[in-house]
């Protein structure tokens, strides 16, 4: 709540100039977008970490977010910007990236932690380069490309696109809600795939369903905000430290804390430097040291 109020209240424009109505017009969508992006990315991170038994998994490290950004860029340069096709492009890109990285990392039916992270890193570079190429060939500005790669909440919401945002938010939220219904299956899946199967979980189907649903949620979010790093990685670990590892608590906890963390990051990103920073600059400065800490603890 406090963070939400700050998001509305604090900014270069300040509350005095332009009046409350105008500030609300710009900052209310920003607030909604921040909650949606932070919540979805952190929930997706929690779900992927459990599903893949990999504490380093999240939509960014697995290349899912940059795959979505690539899909979005394809739609942008094809001249369908600000249309319904942007979230569709995000979804398609995220889905393709998820399965590609998973298949790359799967050797003789097994997915190792390091294999998955390596495949994700490689995919990330590849998709980011492709996206940059597409944006430049499509005569988009570098600024646009940077925001798509590194995330921002400064989407201008018009009367037309507000419905798109509402629909996207509903879809993303529904995805997170569905994931919550799979809490018990994710618990046993995080022990081992064989244990999960021996306890009656259809692990192949669960994996495919989680991939599709999270690709949808993440793809839709990325189509509005671009790829935001490390929120999905760090937040679930914080939630586990606070509330324990059961998914029925980790998933909703991650949504709430993720939303809060992203709003704070956005506050920092647009207030420390005139003109603002891409969001990933802030989230990565906190997230990377945490990533290193997790990696060293496991190796």
């Amino acid at each position: 709540m406090v963070v939400a109020a700050l998001t509305i209240g604090v900014g270069p424009a300040g509350l005095t100039r332009g009046g409350l109505a105008q500030v609300l017009e710009f900052r209310l969508p920003r607030l909604v977008l921040g909650i949606m992006a932070g919540g979805v990315l952190a929930t997706a991170g929690a779900g992927l970490q459990g599903l893949l038994r990999n504490p380093l998994a999240d939509p960014f490290t697995l290349g899912v977010a940059s795959g979505a950004a690539l899909g979005v860029s394809l739609v942008l340069v094809s001249g369908h910007g600000s249309s319904l096709l942007l979230p569709v492009g995000g979804f398609a890109g995220a889905l393709a990236a998820t399965f590609l990285v998973y298949l790359l990392a799967r050797v003789r039916g097994r997915v190792t932690m390091t294999g998955l992270v390596l495949a994700g890193v490689i995919a990330n570079f590849f998709f980011a380069s492709l996206m940059m190429l597409i944006m430049i060939l499509g005569r988009r500005t570098l600024g646009e490309a940077v925001y798509l790669t590194m995330g921002h909440l400064g989407v201008v919401v018009t009367h037309r696109s507000v419905w798109l945002l509402a629909g996207a938010g509903a879809a993303a939220l529904a995805g997170c809600g569905w994931l919550l219904t799979q809490s018990r299956a994710l618990d046993v899946m995080s022990l081992s795939e064989e244990t999960a199967r021996s306890l009656g979980v259809n692990t192949g189907r669960l994996t495919r369903q989680v991939f599709v649903v999270l690709s949808l949620a993440v793809g839709v979010v990325v189509s509005f905000t671009g790829a935001i790093s490390f929120v999905g990685l760090v937040v679930p670990h914080l939630v586990r430290m606070l509330f324990g590892p059961m998914h029925r608590r980790v998933l909703p906890g991650s949504f709430l804390l993720g939303a809060g963390v992203l709003l704070v990051s956005d506050l920092v990103a647009r207030n420390v430097v005139p003109g603002g920073l891409p969001l990933s600059v802030v989230t990565a400065l906190v997230g990377v040291p945490f990533f290193v800490y997790l990696l060293r603890k496991r190796l």
Partner: protein, 258 residues
Amino acid sequence: MRAIEVAGLGFGYGGVRLFDGFSLDVEAGEFLAVVGPNGAGKSTLLRLIAGLLEPQTGRVSVLGQDIGRLGRRRTAQLVGVVLEEDSLAFNYPVHEVVMMGRTPYLGAFERPGRSDHEAVMRALEVCDMVHLRDKGIAEISAGERQRAVLARALAQEPQLLLLDEAFSHLDITHQHSTLEILREMNRSGRTVVLLSHDLNLAAAAGTRILLLNKGRAAALGEPAEVLTPRNLRQAYGIEPVVLVHPQTGRPQVLLPSS
């Protein structure tokens, strides 16, 4: 009724045939111990019986029903499996790990009810894990972890219990008590199949022993019939000393002098 019926089983990894026309019948209420050298196919056989692997040819039935047609959930209500290692990536409390044994009985939105909590409590008591119930699974010793996993399988209340090296980290106190738990389950009509590298444990545990070698049943029968110097030499390539346990009358296997 037969607890396990394997007929004409064919299975291999990457073109190399491990099982070719393998058959095995286990009556309901039996306690079968499976032994054999490394790579004999013990763990693969267990996974085929549990429905975790699909036979390439032939048929596996459990309690009179084809395992391939039973469905994952129904299989999990009938067959409990204790495997060697679970991931410790997430530090679940012991009582939650044991509650996961109730997964095949619970719907997506269903909260565990009284019967679930009772099954968990019973399992914790039987496995001497009550005092560790709130500890994290990654914080306890490997032996305690094996008992927690056994407790999870007991909470699952299966008709058929399959164990893969479930004793490897247990001290002799808990080997003894765990063997008693399995015997008690067996006495109450449940079928138990125990895989072990430890020939003496197998001899003490099973009413029958299956000696598996290169995907074939090298010997199958009562401990004294199976654990003979001749059979063991053929399977393992060394000739151990076989004595008789003074209390149980069962064979005990010692390494030969070098």
